[in-house]
Symmetry: C2
Subunit: 303 residues, 2 copies
């Protein structure tokens, strides 16, 4: 089978970018990979790990001659990068990204795309709490969803090609409107991360009071939150800044519900507590049934 692309450029070689490079290599999805990375250490890692045929600090040089350009940097860098590399794009090139917020991606990248170049916004819903070029692995996208959010009028062939790219990387494809994506992800991803960051921060303040006992007895449930709250700080800063409205909306609902729960505890309303806890228990089963969690995963401590 011939490669989907002759030449591909990956801008940014963190967890996602380096996992993309690995799966592209392993599955032969592109014949040639150019990598652009800002730091000399990451460029060295790209070479050492054999993830690039050419390595550049300048995004404009990295994208020249590329059939497919994949933006894998934090959302806050999109505008500057798109402006920098747009003039060097080859006619007919396809540009995509992996960012967790699609409204801002379209707003920041779209306007810079020259005629004959198509931007297909994408979001592989996959990741770990680890960062950097050494943390990637080729199986990261396997059986995960990749959501594409092409604006109305986007060239269909380009959308299909990007879909094929992610399918070859192991993912399943879902196509939806950018605003809807940003709302759904605000619930399933952004709010959970915000809450995890917050509770770990609250507990950290208390750990200073309780002489590290918060760490010592973390197996009681807190531990799970520390994993999520170890995710990349810059990436997540940009997610909250760019998906601000949807996150604030979801946070409002969460706080409303939490106030009701607080009141139930204060007034010792055991029935209301038990009713909620019984309802939430079913959701776990639905998540497992949807094959988004492994029922056989090693039991972890929770209390």
């Amino acid at each position: 089978m011939s490669a989907l692309f002759e030449r591909m450029a990956i801008i940014g070689l963190g967890l996602i970018g380096s996992s993309v490079a690995r799966v592209v290599r392993q599955h032969g999805i592109a014949d040639h990979i150019s990598v652009c990375a800002r730091s000399p250490e990451t460029r060295q890692a790209a070479t050492d790990l054999g993830l690039a045929d050419a390595v550049f600090a300048d995004p404009a040089k990295a994208v020249a001659d590329a059939d497919f350009v994949l933006l894998c940097t934090p959302l806050g860098t999109y505008k500057t990068l798109a402006e920098a590399f747009a003039p060097s794009l080859k006619p007919g090139a396809i540009v995509s990204d992996v960012g967790s917020v699609k409204g801002s991606a379209i707003r920041d990248v779209g306007p810079f795309m020259p005629d004959g170049v198509t931007f297909v916004p994408g979001h592989p819903v996959a990741g770990t709490e680890n960062s950097g070029p050494h943390s990637g692995f080729a199986e990261l996208f396997d059986r995960r969803w990749c959501i594409l959010t092409p604006p109305d009028g986007t060239d269909e062939n380009a959308v299909n090609t990007v879909a094929d790219f992610w399918r070859e990387a192991g993912s399943e494809i879902e196509i939806m409107d950018a605003a809807h994506h940003d709302l759904v992800l605000a619930v399933t991803s952004h709010l959970p991360h915000l809450i995890a960051y917050n509770i770990v921060g609250t507990a950290d303040d208390l750990a200073k009071v309780t002489e590290s006992e918060v760490i010592k007895f973390a197996a009681g449930g807190f531990r799970d939150f520390t994993r999520i709250a170890a995710s990349d700080p810059v990436m997540w800063r940009d997610i909250f800044l760019t998906n601000r409205d949807a996150v604030l909306e979801m946070l409002g609902r969460f706080t409303e519900d939490l106030s009701a729960l607080q009141k139930a505890i204060r007034y010792k309303d055991g029935e209301e507590l038990e009713a909620l806890f019984t309802r939430t228990r079913h959701i776990r089963r639905e998540v497992i049934d949807a094959e988004q969690a492994d029922p056989d995963e090693a039991p972890e401590d929770t209390y």
Copy 2:
């Protein structure tokens, strides 16, 4: 090595009770196990699984002749059960429990203990999201902390014996004041569970709006919360009702911090967001260093 106890009684055969029975059998910690369970199904399971030498519906019958009685039922049942079995306790018997709140355990069980019987409150900080006699396993307590909170004046020999019991089950022992335990666990366990229950409830309401997309894209971070929020509803209802003051205090701090975070998002204060997310990242490392999480655990999706 001879058994630590000749006769032991386990009241309640859920995840914890049945795991205790398994490890007692496997390590020969007691020669004879009496099990008390309310439901005929659980009593049948105790027999089928070979976890009991004798099975009773009546707690008073289960504790007769026992050297060691371990209460493994939800906190809300303690008072009624203690009152019911106290008159049948043998002189010199030791009574302990596994409840997640120690202040209420002392308040509800202590007063019923006859002269010559010692109550040593305990809390093995271990568990999974699964419930019932079939969900237990002998390794549950292995390398986990068991916290004992004997009130001032508790017989030292009895405390040492209960400590030996948990050491033989694989645990490490920590001794602390009940009020302090309840505060530490409010942070490391009760608040995380409350938050997880709440966010899963909020998302469930939204799932009805977004046509199951919340379930479909749960790998974005939400998934981890569903696991914790699948924990036993009655057990957790009782934890929040009995540790009300400490939970409300911690919830107050959490909400305060969340309001500050919400404000930072609203006013696009990227520096504050990044500072918090950088700080919380270190905590994960501390938890791993304290051997309360496995750095080699399979990477899980988080965004």
